[in-house]
């Protein structure tokens, strides 16, 4: 039961927002007030619990830096990022499904030509990626801008290195007239999201693990089409059924077949086994 003097507080806050000039902002703060107050009514926090919540949010904020976005991690681990993604991709019938951007996207990735090796020479099982970008009618899209980024064999992204001189395992490519983008890289591995901060403490306290299954990130944009932010996951990777950020969708799990040493695409000859990934991305209209 919500007592009259308590619902009066909620109404007073909503009334106070009544003069918000921007109607969208007014709607958001009104919903926020109602939702936040309803949550407090459900949970009935003690003063100390309220103070703990203040302390947790403060710690999350303090953890944020140029190379660490703890609030995005919090949003990811609470499934909010995936929900926002789902809400913004309701009309995607036939198009490739999207998933979270994650905290490691960099808008200034180095450009790379078709067939380039983007591994930066780091150790790992060689991987040849051959993907096609097309529209809903199956027509290849030339000139699409394709950002790709992934972790190394230890599970770290380039931007997590303390003294990063230049980017690696990250590139911006452009699709050819056949809608194709090809590059050499290495097989990504499963990795834990950064868990040495308050989000990691939250995961521990709730009996959750911080791991994500192995995946490559893609961000694909082309004129006349909605930008696509997604992953391709490695079939058979650990944690596909318990991704810490709820990012896995069945249609995004791909085979990465293993090939014996010898002749490889792009004129390469390899003295050890290598993997390949083929995938057909389909972009929605705008």
């Amino acid at each position: 039961m919500i007592r009259p003097e308590e619902s009066a507080i909620t109404q007073a806050v909503i009334d106070r927002f009544a003069q918000t000039p921007d109607p969208r902002l007014k709607a958001i703060v009104t919903h926020l007030t109602r939702s936040l107050h309803a949550f407090v009514q459900e949970v009935e926090p003690t003063f100390d619990e309220w103070l703990s919540a203040i302390g947790f949010l403060t710690d999350v904020g303090r953890m944020c830096s140029g190379s660490r976005q703890e609030f995005i991690l919090l949003s990811d681990t609470l499934g909010v990022s995936m929900l926002v993604d789902a809400i913004n991709h309701r009309q995607a019938g036939g198009a490739t499904e999207s998933t979270v951007l994650g905290p490691f996207f960099v808008d200034t990735a180095p450009t790379a030509p078709d067939g380039a090796d983007i591994s930066g020479g780091v150790a790992g099982e060689p991987l040849y990626v051959d993907v096609t970008i097309s529209d809903l009618q199956g027509q290849p899209i030339a000139g699409a801008s394709v950002d790709v980024w992934q972790c190394d064999s230890d599970g770290f992204y380039d931007v997590q290195q303390p003294d990063l001189a230049e980017h690696f395992l990250r590139a911006r490519l452009t699709s050819g007239p056949d809608g194709k983008v090809r590059f050499w890289s290495i097989l990504p591995t499963a990795y834990p999201i950064p868990d040495d901060g308050p989000v990691g403490q939250m995961l521990k306290a709730t009996g959750r693990h911080p791991w994500r299954p192995a995946h490559l990130h893609f961000r694909i944009s082309a004129q006349g089409h909605s930008a696509l932010v997604t992953h391709l996951f490695v079939r058979g990777s650990a944690y596909l059924d318990s991704d810490a950020v709820f990012g896995v969708k069945d249609t995004l799990i791909c085979d990465f077949p293993r090939h014996p040493p010898g002749q490889a695409p792009n004129g390469r000859t390899l003295d050890r086994p290598w993997r390949s990934l083929q995938h057909a991305f389909v972009l929605d209209g705008i």
Copy 2:
């Protein structure tokens, strides 16, 4: 309408919290997930709006320091602090009503004897405070610990001074055998909450002002009684009907009568007008 694939995300997050060892924490994170996801469903944020929310929370966290608690300000200005306070003081029939602690409480205030001048010599209209602490049966409570703190004539608390050498307008007194606490101070003034940070931006964007009506803070604790955290507001002060943190309750608005120069309590003679405040605090049982 909530689509099945979207409610599946909410359920997946709740299921992931199922192994939380502490039952209270499990209830909180489950309610939080449901509430947060329902809010996102109502508001349907765009990706950019989600990113703005992440940026806002990050800014609030970055603003926090040893002398500034921006998340408490956010909780205060959204009425959450008052709601938590109300929920935790439902059984207070007959006892003095509580209100927010605010961000300026200090647990190490200097002790002061009965009748002390706590003004630290700062300019302002002299104020003589004479309050009684009693229980629900009207019996005076001796030995109650009474913290009092207030702003100066410019609206600032001592802890807001850049180079604070010693506390002023802040003291810890102890009630005498008659339950009384008496001290000299100055009349507090209305003041804006710190509005040079993201909470101030939120207030501006929503057409709200940052002002609080003039008040003195009290925190009273005594063995066998619930601690009381409250304010006494100056009747006639501006902003009594629009306190930025929703802290005003009618029963906490007091007269501060003005007296002509001359004989004043505690053996003082004043060459200018002065004010007085009398109030009877009633503490609840535990």
